[in-house]
């Protein structure tokens, strides 16, 4: 019998529908894989009983021919989605013990369509990080072996909580990416504020899409930067990502920024011809000192699309270099406002204080990790009297210019833009210093522009580095044109050939 955890989401769906396998079987196979993979630290809460109950209910619906689009498919949920009665802490200590009495819209949509919840996935605290090292629950290891490491050495490192030397799966959706790449779940929810879906997808050799701002409801997602945050899936194929997004997306009266437009059948776009499409290659993404490997990968991606009948044109997005600095004003500013709610009074951690101010200050000092505290202080500073115009308003003006760059390219007839996903392959846990936070921030240099402009961005695996680690390419689309990205992403996926995910050394 084939290992049920190696099926793609689409394959599992079809086998469930034909009753070749049961939802209970495939849920049990994944729960076992999660147990064996505990050393990766991808899950922060496993909901085994709930998973089996949901699977049995799915089997009953399948038997009655009442199956939803995701009926019986076991998935993981990033810890920032509110799941009723289940651990929801955005991997922060300040939400200690928080169990929401309500469900996020995205997960509500997934359960409506029949998906089965395996548990909650590790992430950077409040999604602030690019390596999953800021989680209160410790770092996540990537299932990819560090270059020249033996399986035994990796297994020994995975037993320690520091996981030193193992590769990071990226962040902030590190648990989601690691779990999907290690076949601990068929797919997972993730979220992306500056690259938190796409960078982990690139680092672990899987597919991720950040849809257009407003495509998915943010109701019940723990907020980081509200004008940038967007939900999206991580999956092992472009088709699987399309299936997931169709269920996750959709109008929601509980989020006034959520688009009322109907959700297209994204899966139908997978395999659609890209002939005649015009693909822009922006010269500003060719960074000084960029590795020749990334450059070659990018050129190869363009060649694949050309071979499939698309035309490649040079485009200019002149404000690209300012996106990351502007992001590090806008995102912390919005975070400092959003995270004001964690005060030790209504939920989570509480540190006693002599007066209310002391209660707040002590609770927040103990409950927030180093990176979160740093960003809250930056955000507070750029919003403070006398600095608001110089920092925040200027950054929002630059955001207008960044968006205008994209609008010009699209007005010139470009259907999508092709860029590298990350400046390098995955790095090691503990490798980047914490003295200079900017070093870590540079990971998002190719992805952050997309959040600043509210556009959809898809990352698909495109090859391996000279060290044998996965590298991804990013496709950026017009607002609400995720379908074009799925068509182009599938072309890249097919041209690159199947990504051979690592054999389990962790069990």
């Amino acid at each position: 019998m084939t290992d049920l955890t190696t099926l793609t989401l689409a394959e599992a769906r079809d086998r469930l529908k034909s009753r070749a396998i049961s939802s209970r079987e495939i849920a049990a196979a994944h729960l076992e894989a999660i147990e064996r993979g505990a050393g990766l630290n991808a899950f922060v809460a496993v909901t085994a009983d709930k998973a089996l109950r949901m699977a049995e209910a799915s089997d009953a619906r399948l038997a009655r021919n009442e199956a939803g689009p995701l009926e019986g498919l076991p998935i993981g949920v990033k810890d920032l989605y509110a799941t009723k009665g289940v651990h929801t802490q955005a991997c922060s200590h300040i939400l200690d013990g928080f169990k929401p009495p309500y469900e996020s819209t995205v997960t509500t949509n997934l359960w409506r369509d029949g998906a089965v919840m395996l548990g909650k996935l590790n992430m950077d605290e409040f999604a602030m990080g690019s390596s999953n090292e800021t989680s209160y629950y410790g770092p996540v290891a990537s299932p990819w072996l560090p270059p020249n490491w033996s399986r035994d050495r990796a297994r020994a490192a995975a037993l320690s909580s520091e996981k030193r030397g193992l590769l990071t799966p990226g962040g902030s959706s590190g648990g989601s990416a690691s779990a999907v790449a290690a076949r601990l779940c068929l797919a997972a929810t993730a979220s992306d504020t500056g690259g938190s879906i796409r960078q982990p997808a690139a680092f672990t050799g899987i597919v991720g899409i950040k849809p257009t701002y407003g495509r998915c409801s943010r109701y019940g997602m723990v907020a980081f930067a509200s004008s940038l945050d967007q939900a999206g899936p991580l999956a092992r194929t472009v088709r699987d990502a399309a299936i997931m997004l169709r269920s996750m997306a959709g109008p929601d009266p509980k989020d006034s920024t959520c688009s009322p437009s109907p959700v297209p059948d994204y899966e139908a776009a997978v395999g659609r011809s890209v002939k005649g499409m015009k693909i822009g290659v922006p010269k500003e993404y060719r960074l000084e000192g960029m590795s020749s490997e990334i450059d070659a990968l990018w050129a190869r991606g363009a060649e694949w699309l050309r071979a499939a009948g698309a035309s490649i044109v040079d485009v200019s997005l002149p404000h690209t270099p300012y996106a990351l600095p502007a992001y590090y004003i806008v995102a912390p500013a919005e975070a400092s406002s959003n995270l004001a709610r964690y005060d030790g009074v209504r939920y989570g951690l509480r540190e006693p204080g002599g007066d209310i101010a002391e209660l707040y200050e002590k609770t927040r000092a103990r409950g927030f990790g180093t990176e979160v505290r740093r960003r809250l202080m930056i955000g507070t500073y750029v919003l403070s009297a006398g600095y608001y115009d110089a920092y925040y308003v200027r950054a929002q003006k630059i955001r207008t210019l960044i968006k205008r760059d994209f609008e010009r390219a699209f007005a010139d007839g470009v259907d999508a833009i092709l860029t590298p996903a990350t400046p390098s392959a995955a790095f090691g846990i503990g490798e980047k210093s914490s003295d200079n936070p900017v070093e870590m921030y540079l990971n998002d240099i190719f992805t952050v522009t997309v959040n600043m402009a509210g556009l959809p961005g898809l990352v698909a695996p495109a090859g391996l580095s000279s060290d044998g680690l996965p590298l991804g390419l990013q496709l950026i689309g017009r607002p609400f044109d995720e379908e074009t990205l799925f068509a182009l992403g599938a072309t890249i996926e097919q041209s690159a050939g199947p990504m051979a995910l690592p054999e389990p050394w962790w069990s």
Partner: protein, 95 residues
């Protein structure tokens, strides 16, 4: 622009985060590294540019002004670290 030690203390207080004296020089270094990084924005000519207020061109929808939810005080209080008689409990605020 860069921040001095006193400004770090002031920001920490505004953010309602307790910091020890020992932490302040390190925080100053980190904050200044970020401020130096964002200095690049000074080179951009933003004259006459509207600051972005909404990333997608969309009118916020209006809904009927009616009660949509409520009468769930026990749920609202369910996660509170300290409650009494259906209220959140905090240290005395008014003398």
């Amino acid at each position: 622009m860069s921040v001095d030690l006193n400004t770090v203390r002031r920001i920490a207080h505004l953010a309602r985060i307790a910091v020890s004296e020992a932490e302040i020089p390190r925080l100053q270094g980190e904050i200044n590294a970020i401020l130096k990084f964002v200095e690049a924005l000074d080179a951009v000519d933003v004259d006459g540019v509207e600051p972005m207020t909404s990333v997608v061109p969309m009118r916020l929808p209006m809904r009927d002004d009616v009660v949509a939810d409520g009468d769930i005080a026990p749920l609202v209080l369910a996660n509170a670290p300290l409650t009494e008689d259906g209220f959140f409990v905090v240290p005395k605020v008014i003398e």
